[in-house]
Symmetry: D2
Subunit: 314 residues, 4 copies
């Protein structure tokens, strides 16, 4: 027996890629005899499962009696795709999280993390059947659903890899100057960032079986983009705050927003050696190093629940 303490631990199968095809409408030329319909819709998810609970013996004595294999958690993802369909990442994650906790006594908490890759349709006007798609690229939609026997349901939605730029209306000056400061103050610069955002939903949303997660996602995304574009910025921190405030102002069931915004520096290239004036026209887009601005804004009176990134290099 160990003389040390086993603290937080979890396990499960990570990155289960599932593509679900749904056929709507009648008829169609598909050879499949049932489930027909000529209008295809797809959802394309990457689902990770993490289970928490009574796993002390699994770690200490080699006794796996409390261990639901990660392989089983994978099977469950695919079987649930068939049994329940995928209405949205959040809805699918809620079903899975509740299932693991309710079906196995040693499992006290389950966390489902999902990435969704979105597809656009390639329309084929000459036929009734529509089943061709092109991946949208742009952002990846994310969701993290945690269900605990004791504390209930928590739903955090998000997105990542959404790259945005304002080619003007950004300044940066008035900052501290110490002995290591060489930065020139800027009164017109490019502001660009690759947005990673997460937002926590109130219990009103999480516990409402009718909540429209897709609609909610589109709305949050739109308000963040609008706030980014419309803010005359004196720092990326200020833009971050505006983006989060705008979401809280417009989405009553969102309680908390956390943003992780790398400052994708665009440096004005010095063209003077070549007898050219660079009037904010030609920039070098740098990769590394980069500023990294992170922050949480939440409604007054709620407890923030979104993990801060204590460790990760973005």
């Amino acid at each position: 027996m160990s003389k040390h303490v086993l603290a937080q631990n979890q396990y499960g199968k990570a990155e289960n890629r599932i593509v679900k095809v749904t056929r709507k409408g009648n008829g169609g030329t598909s050879r499949t005899e049932s489930g027909g319909g000529s209008w295809h819709e797809i959802r394309d998810l990457n689902v990770s499962v993490a289970l928490r609970g009574e796993f002390r013996d699994v770690h200490l004595t080699g006794d796996n009696a409390n261990c639901l294999p990660t392989d089983t958690t994978k099977n469950t993802v695919y079987a649930f795709g068939k049994e329940h369909g995928i209405a949205s990442p959040e809805a699918f994650g809620i079903l899975l999280a509740k299932h693991f906790v309710s079906s196995q006594q040693p499992i006290r908490e389950a966390q489902i993390r999902i990435e969704e890759y979105v597809w656009d349709r390639i329309p084929v006007p000459t036929r009734k059947e529509q089943h061709s798609f092109v991946r949208k690229g742009q952002e990846v939609r994310t969701a993290q659903i945690t269900y605990s026997e004791t504390t209930g349901l928590q739903v955090i939605s998000g997105l990542k890899e959404l790259t945005v730029m304002n080619s003007t209306n950004s300044e940066f000056h008035g900052y501290i100057k110490d002995k290591y400061t060489t930065l020139q103050e800027a009164y017109d610069r490019i502001l660009a960032t690759k947005v990673t955002a997460r937002w926590a939903h109130s219990a009103l949303a999480a516990d409402d079986p009718e909540h429209d997660w897709d609609r909610s996602y589109k709305k949050v995304r739109k308000h963040m983009l609008d706030a980014f574009a419309e803010t005359y910025s004196y720092s990326l921190q200020q833009t971050l705050n505006q983006m989060a405030e705008r979401v809280l102002d417009n989405c009553p069931r969102v309680n908390e927003v956390r943003l992780n915004l790398p400052n994708k520096h665009h440096f004005l290239v010095d063209l003077e050696p070549f007898g050219l004036k660079n009037d904010n026209e030609v920039y070098f887009a740098a990769d590394r190093m980069y500023g990294l601005i992170e922050g949480t804004i939440h409604r007054d009176g709620v407890q923030p629940v979104i993990a801060t990134s204590d460790w990760i290099v973005a």
Copy 2:
């Protein structure tokens, strides 16, 4: 002196990221005094330069008299952005390639490779000034421009990372069965691939200073997508051929198309152990291993010029 032979060699600065902002219209609130205009447009390129020529002494004796530094090739990219603007990746590459060959005697051939990242506008209806953008994601546009003193100009356009899927209308059967064959014939499967395409332009296009490269790009892209969507497929090879043929049929100034199509396998998940019937609904999207289908189709009578990928794992 070496007793061996120095054969093909080249050098230059790779991956010069340049963002060019152009301001159109009059007025605007930008603080920049010239180059004004409130309607901003951007081009965002990654430009690689490779020079070929009389570099024997650079390699053999440490004499750099014939060597234009890679740093200078980088400076030239940025200076040309200001001096000539960026009408399109191809037009910009042609200017650069011709410049290196014509300005330095030891340089006999220059190859410019470009990736372009496309941005969509974030519209702000409440103001006249428009300078906010979101990166489109989806495919990366590519161009390779080679200019040689002796053989002139060659322009190859392309794209990569364009992921497409047909959720039906794909079969695969009637193939060779040998002692290592276990694959079941498929009469209705998902066909998905991540398109890497390159197409070579005729001299009519390359040497025409009025050629509209952006329009040409959109047209080729559309025909490839349409052919992918409309082809009832008996193999990915057949789809590849249809995509290339469609481009050659519709774009008279394109002489040759090469496609590199990884078969992004979507395996039907066996749900029978769970008492469920999987009627082509739930798939596992695999990463590796993958089929890799590559081919060149060209007009009769022209010499193919696009490099085949003898080495690269895509």
Copy 3:
């Protein structure tokens, strides 16, 4: 003014790559006139800075009076490389973290995260001067140093991307079987994982200016590898626990260990269709999906401080 609450926030320059050359011994052929010595040593770090403190106005009003620019934090990293040298990632991070907090009133806490890339020497026996290196590859060494005005110093060391394998002495059976379980019990399997480890040091180590961080790193690494190799495993959880216990048993100044162990599945290939018996010889090494096993083990009586990965897909 905001009606919402600005909660956890931080900013700084991420991923400052610094290479520091130190010359030891006398003489040598280096053209540099001072700092001579013919025996070169290098340290190669990627340093990320995050500052926490009184930044409310930066976010809310566009007033940057409390903001030390991220550019200055970058400059400080490079200047400190010259002024103080780099004795170890941990020692360098401690210097930086204390500097930011002590030199600027609004900064209340600084967190420095470091990756170190290790180089081996390419020996050149024919000359006295030794200044040639090959990057070791294998694991990346990590360190996270947090210094707070109120709670003092916390040092977490770590490593990542250390891939290990036992080709036998691993079993997995006796687990829960539910309606979604299809996994066969295994009595001899490959166990492979890519180790991400972090371990927290006691105040005895963190506050000891003579603590030998390099020696400590080598010792922890060795005990983890040994425990991995020597454990006859009934689950990856059990191996995880053994690795952590071994470190705590042998390194008295380490208080807590957290491991993140993806189960890099090696599936036995079914060769029966080809009339071949696969006696645990030929495996398919899969990428995704994968089991993901995470856990913290700490000494009795100490508070765990290492962040659990609530969000990240490893």
Copy 4:
């Protein structure tokens, strides 16, 4: 029927990861009853298959009668691992390439590309059984084997991701200065690169069933590293040439060497604003943009066969 020409085409299964365990010695505690032996050895390969031949109908008419499925080529890789073992990447690739061409009439040429990941042993002195490993990291070994009905066997070995650095003994000056040149001449700089190398073997090696490919690999690798370390460099081109010459001088069965050397720039940081002198001590290691130097050196009288990288951004 097509009015266009189907030119170079190929297909096959890419990136088949195979791990082969071999047990040597007698006894041991392994539960496997046969193939025993307590001394385990492993080879870990990523094998890609490309087939060329009579595939016109596959592309044009949907007739797959000449198509060996990519799935079968995958199965063959795993079955051959059992039937023939993996003596070396080259030997394994030769077996596979000859098999495909000789067993199916439509297949006229096969190209096998292999990456090998090397593992070191974790020794466990307290037991006789040795079956624990840690991945070496550092370079990836590569091989490309092409077998053609008409032109026979061609073997190209290689490596990639081998990062090396000289912290002195590198200069760069005497180059062309044009109107875009701003680079300062350097008389003592860091020279660092990430080596991608390929070398073609003579028929004497390729056709010799006793050729020791592992020994050959070690020898070429050592001579390249030695030449890198020992060359006092006036340009990366000169170093490239020395590395290739050294191999040709010492390895009589190697006919041709191609090197792809990105110049991993290390920029001296300007510390003067902070009152510090940077005597070639503190460098910023940049990622992008980078010089890219490529070249082929071959024996007099042989035809170079290694593909030049017309397209790829490294």
